[in-house]
Symmetry: C2
Amino acid sequence: MQTVAIFGVGLIGGSFALALKKAGFEGRIIGVSSPATLEAAREIGAIDEALPAAQAAADADLIYLAQPICRILDTLPQINAWVRPDALVTDAGSTKEAIVARAGETLTRCAFLGGHPLAGKELRGVMHADADLFRSRPYVLTPQTDANMGLPLAITFLEWLERIGARPIVTKPAQHDRVVAYTSHLPQLTSTALAACLNGQFDGAKPAFWGPALLDTTRLALSAYDIWKDILYTNRAHIETALDAYIDQLQQLRAMLGGSDLKGVFDEGAAVAARLRDFVQPPGRLDAK
Amino acid sequence: MQTVAIFGVGLIGGSFALALKKAGFEGRIIGVSSPATLEAAREIGAIDEALPAAQAAADADLIYLAQPICRILDTLPQINAWVRPDALVTDAGSTKEAIVARAGETLTRCAFLGGHPLAGKELRGVMHADADLFRSRPYVLTPQTDANMGLPLAITFLEWLERIGARPIVTKPAQHDRVVAYTSHLPQLTSTALAACLNGQFDGAKPAFWGPALLDTTRLALSAYDIWKDILYTNRAHIETALDAYIDQLQQLRAMLGGSDLKGVFDEGAAVAARLRDFVQPPGRLDAK
């Protein structure tokens, strides 16, 4: 792996570039992004040079698509004419079924390996990029076929993921999308709905007082819609199912308010919350449910 | 104010004692609690001595009830026979209507001023007490009558609250309980329900991967039921209303998943979340809605 082209040098693309360099990557890192972003990315040392998409795609061993999901869906057919047959295209989109399907249909001249680093911040843009963003975080890979994981560049990419401290997990696109509906998209919607509900109840003003609990549970609500639009669009069915399960749980909890059964729900919730914290995710293949 | 008796020397009671001392209080601080707690409280320098409830209540200018809500409800009639007529009893319970009503009925021999510091941690017990716990946090006061705020000891207590860095806010018990149903109790239930929902969906195991968003939104779910039991019991009607509004918001949001109206909810949520962060609560009387 000598040349990496990063399409979309924002928080994730910029952090991946910085992480590679910190881990000892000595090849070329090319950025494909808006002029302002490219200048910022060069200033912080994330990329070595900026090129037009066609030339970047033609030069690269590894093409890393870190754009919003719908931009990735548009980029896949575009780059097919430009890529080298021995190149590997991967992406960092937050949903995988739509992207892997599009790659299967349109990226016919080289291999594709879907990816999703479960890392991030509410802050966006390459100015917030961080070489340690992926450290100790799950990095889900969704190969179209198991054989894809054995390709020389896929093996090399996996080695770099481990060098930057990520914890690779291999699963199927549909399994990925079901899991993140519960572990990422539902948490976002619980927070957005809570903040919006407060707005309705206090007539667009603020409540008169609140404690740290409300700051915690509304932090995700700060996220911008234009990041979430594509996620909600491409994972709608799983998110509807997750929302239904959550609303059902809330209704059960409401019905229990008078009685002692509520203890069971609190204990169950506390046990799950504790397990999410004491668990170090091992690298490797997991049977994601 | 020469002598303060703290009933229930846990996280809140212990922190209040430490905060008073740090702010220059040179009087006596008496603890009323279990023997193990009293020993720990004396070791960290929170209390000067331990006394039986009757003697502590008889000695104190200020009686600070920092027990669980239902213990406060039991303590109010008990201490009535022991208190000095010029004493002030206050409390730190998380709901106010039930406590203020009980004080009105049973604490006839001295004045009462309901209180609720919106401060805390998931950690309990005097070993986690912190002299800065109340710093920059709202401290709600719910006097039975406005005249109560003018009592010499109430004025002194308010001065000490300001010295320990808290931001006193005066409101009515019912207004307090409505506001905290949305800003404290609803956030707790959104988190407990999310963690319990995950448990149901992943058969009591863990999902295969998750990111920081899930850790954020399940942190409150770590809280113990025996703290929440009394809160839910004494604020049930307001919590039911808040849960209904939240479930309604989630259902609206679910119905919008296909369309562009969702942007409005995200923008609204982000604006509220930002306002909760940029606002420094001024001390003084607010018309809590």
